[in-house]
C-alpha cells in the first residue's frame, strides 16, 4: 500500500461523534496483540510484537563496558529506536528522526523509572559492567508505536539471558542466567480526535489526532508520561486517562507473562 492510504479525518471524527470506530472497536479497546519472544538467535533477548497491523521487533545485546563515571557500580540500559523505511512510505533513510528519538526515550524512561532492571546487579568489577542495549525496529507502521514498543522492549528484557564474561571475552553458554527483572512496566497511548479520546489509535486515527498522551505504569505507580503534538488536555481528561491506564495494566502484563510460560 502507498502513502495514499488515506482515510479522511472528517470521517473518523464523524464516527467518533456517535462513539464508534472503524472495525467496530471500542474507544477503550486495544487491537489484537501478539507477542513472540526469542525470535532472534544472535540477540541475548528479543521479542516481536504486533498490535493490529503495527509490527515492531526489539533485540537486546549485552555488552561489557566501563561504567559511567557518575554511576561506577551500576550497569547501563540504553534504548534506541529506528523507524525503518520498510515500515511506511513516510519514513526516510537516514539518521533517527525526532519521532524515532522521542519513541526511544519515552520507552526508556518508563522502564528505567520503574526500576525494571536492577542496574547494580550488572556490575562485574571496578572496570567492567554489563550494558543492556535494546534496539527497537519498527517493521510496519499502523499507529501507536509507543505501546507496541514498550511491550516489545519489556518482553525482550524478560527473556534476556546474560552471557558469561571470562578472560575478557563474552561467552554464550546453555545455562546463561536470565536478566533479573524486578518490575513490569506497560504503557497505554491515547489520542484526541475532535473532542473524543480513544485508546490505541491506528495509523488512520493518528492522522486525524490533534494530540496524544502516553502513560506508562507498573500497576501501582505512574512511571512515565509523554504528551505529543500541539493540542491540549484538561486535568480532568488526564486523570481519567490515568485511571484507564491502571485498569489496562493487568491485561497487558498478562500478555507478557504468557510468553514466559512457554
Amino acid at each position: 500500500m502507498s502513502s495514499m492510504d488515506l482515510i479522511r479525518s472528517g470521517y473518523i471524527k464523524e464516527l467518533l461523534e456517535s462513539g464508534k470506530r472503524l472495525e467496530s472497536r471500542g474507544i477503550d479497546e486495544f487491537r489484537r496483540i501478539v507477542i513472540k519472544c526469542n525470535t532472534l538467535g544472535n540477540a541475548e533477548g528479543s521479542a516481536q510484537v504486533d498490535v493490529g497491523n503495527t509490527k515492531v521487533l526489539a533485540g537486546v545485546k549485552m555488552v561489557v563496558e566501563e561504567p559511567h563515571s557518575d554511576t561506577p557500580d551500576e550497569g547501563n540500559f540504553i534504548v534506541s529506536a529506528e523507524l525503518l523505511p520498510v515500515a511506511s512510505a513516510e519514513y526516510d533513510v537516514g539518521p533517527p528522526s525526532p519521532s524515532a528519538i522521542e519513541l526511544a526515550r519515552v520507552i526508556d524512561r518508563g522502564i528505567r523509572a520503574g526500576n525494571c532492571i536492577d542496574l547494580k546487579s550488572l556490575s562485574i568489577d571496578k572496570e567492567s559492567v554489563w550494558s543492556v542495549y535494546v534496539d527497537l525496529y519498527v517493521l510496519n507502521y499502523d499507529g501507536n508505536l509507543f505501546d507496541a514498543g514498550t511491550l516489545a522492549v519489556m518482553s525482550a528484557l524478560a527473556h534476556t539471558r546474560i552471557p558469561k564474561f571470562e578472560n575478557e571475552e563474552i561467552v554464550h553458554t546453555a545455562d546463561d542466567k536470565p536478566l533479573k527483572i524486578e518490575n513490569t512496566v506497560v504503557s497505554t497511548t491515547f489520542c484526541k480526535v475532535g473532542d473524543k479520546i480513544i485508546l490505541d489509535p491506528n495509523g488512520a486515527e493518528e492522522s486525524a489526532m490533534s494530540t496524544r498522551l502516553t502513560i506508562a505504569t507498573d500497576g501501582l505507580h505512574i512511571r512515565a508520561m509523554q504528551k505529543g503534538l500541539s493540542g491540549s488536555f484538561s486535568i480532568d481528561e488526564i486523570n481519567n486517562l490515568v485511571d484507564l491506564s491502571f485498569s489496562k495494566y493487568e491485561e497487558l502484563k498478562k500478555q507478557i507473562n504468557a510468553t514466559l510460560d512457554k
Binding site: L40, G41, A43, S80, P85, V86, L139, H172
Partner: protein
C-alpha cells in the same frame, strides 16, 4: 582472516554443521509479510533472518535525480544492531553495507524493466535481522520475491548464493565460520532464465577449474533456491480458480 586459530572446518567429509559440501542450509521464504510496503518477503536461510521490502514506483526524491526516460533504483542493505552474536552494531551504514547496497542495486537495475516506469524511483530495502554468513545472497534472494509481489515488471526472478573453498574442498553456501576461514569466497547472483551472472565478487584463490566447478555448484543450488522462491509466491494464490 588469520588462520592461526583456524578451527577444523571439515571432519570426516562433512562440514561443521553436518552438511555435505554441496548442501544448502535450510531455506524458508514467506512472501508479502509487511502491509505497507508495495512488496515484501521474509527469509530464513540457516541462521540468517532477512527482511526485504520494496516501495515504488514513486516520485523521485530529491527531484534532480529524476530520469524522464526510466526508473531509478535505490537500494539499502542494513544490518540490525542485534544481528550479530559477537557484538552490538552501531547505527548508521558502514562501508561494507554501502558496498553491498551498491552491488545489490546493480543486480536489480538489470532485471527491472526500468523503461516501464519513467520518471520514478524504485526503492529496495534489505534488513538483516540475524546474520550468519551469506547475508548479501539472502538479501538478494528475498528482494527478488518482494519485487515480484510488488507487481513491478521484471525479466526474471533472480537468486544469489555463495560458493567457497576450504583447503581442496569446494563448498556451497558457507555459514559465517566457514566464510571467515575459507580459502576463497564467492557470492554470485544469477538470472536463472539464461544463467546470466548479475553479481560476482570473489576473494581468495581459485584455479580456473575450481572456478568452473564453483559455478556448476551455484547453478545446481539455484534450482532449489528458485523453486522455494516460486513456491512462496504461488502460496499467496492458493484457491486459484481453474
Amino acid at each position: 582472516m588469520s588462520h592461526a586459530n583456524k578451527p577444523e572446518l571439515i571432519i570426516n567429509g562433512k562440514r561443521t554443521d553436518g552438511r555435505d559440501f554441496e548442501e544448502l542450509r535450510p531455506l524458508k521464504v514467506e512472501a508479502g509479510i509487511l502491509k505497507n510496503a508495495a512488496g515484501s518477503a521474509y527469509l530464513e536461510w540457516g541462521n540468517n533472518k532477512v527482511l526485504a521490502a520494496v516501495y515504488g514506483p514513486r516520485e523521485v526524491v530529491p527531484k534532480h535525480l529524476t530520469d524522464s526516460s526510466k526508473a531509478i533504483v535505490k537500494c539499502r542493505y542494513s544490518m540490525a544492531p542485534f544481528s550479530s552474536l559477537s557484538e552490538h552494531g552501531r547505527s548508521g551504514p558502514n562501508r561494507r553495507a554501502m558496498e553491498i547496497s551498491k552491488v545489490t542495486k546493480e543486480v536489480f537495475e538489470n532485471v527491472i524493466m526500468l523503461n516501464e516506469y519513467p520518471g520514478s524511483e524504485i526503492d529496495i530495502f534489505v534488513e538483516i535481522l540475524q546474520g550468519d554468513g551469506g547475508t548479501r545472497s539472502a538479501g538478494i534472494t528475498a528482494a527478488a520475491v518482494a519485487l515480484a509481489i510488488a507487481g513491478i515488471a521484471i525479466r526474471d526472478l533472480v537468486y544469489a548464493v555463495s560458493a567457497a573453498k576450504i583447503g581442496e574442498n569446494m563448498i556451497i553456501d558457507p555459514n559465517m565460520i566457514e566464510d571467515n576461514y575459507s580459502d576463497a569466497d564467492m557470492p554470485v547472483a544469477v538470472s536463472p532464465k539464461n544463467n546470466e551472472i548479475l553479481l560476482l565478487q570473489m576473494d581468495g584463490g581459485y584455479t580456473k577449474e575450481e572456478l568452473k566447478r564453483s559455478f556448476e555448484m551455484v547453478f545446481k543450488a539455484g534450482k532449489t533456491i528458485t523453486e522455494i522462491q516460486k513456491e512462496s509466491i504461488r502460496k499467496l494464490y492458493e484457491g486459484v480458480s481453474k
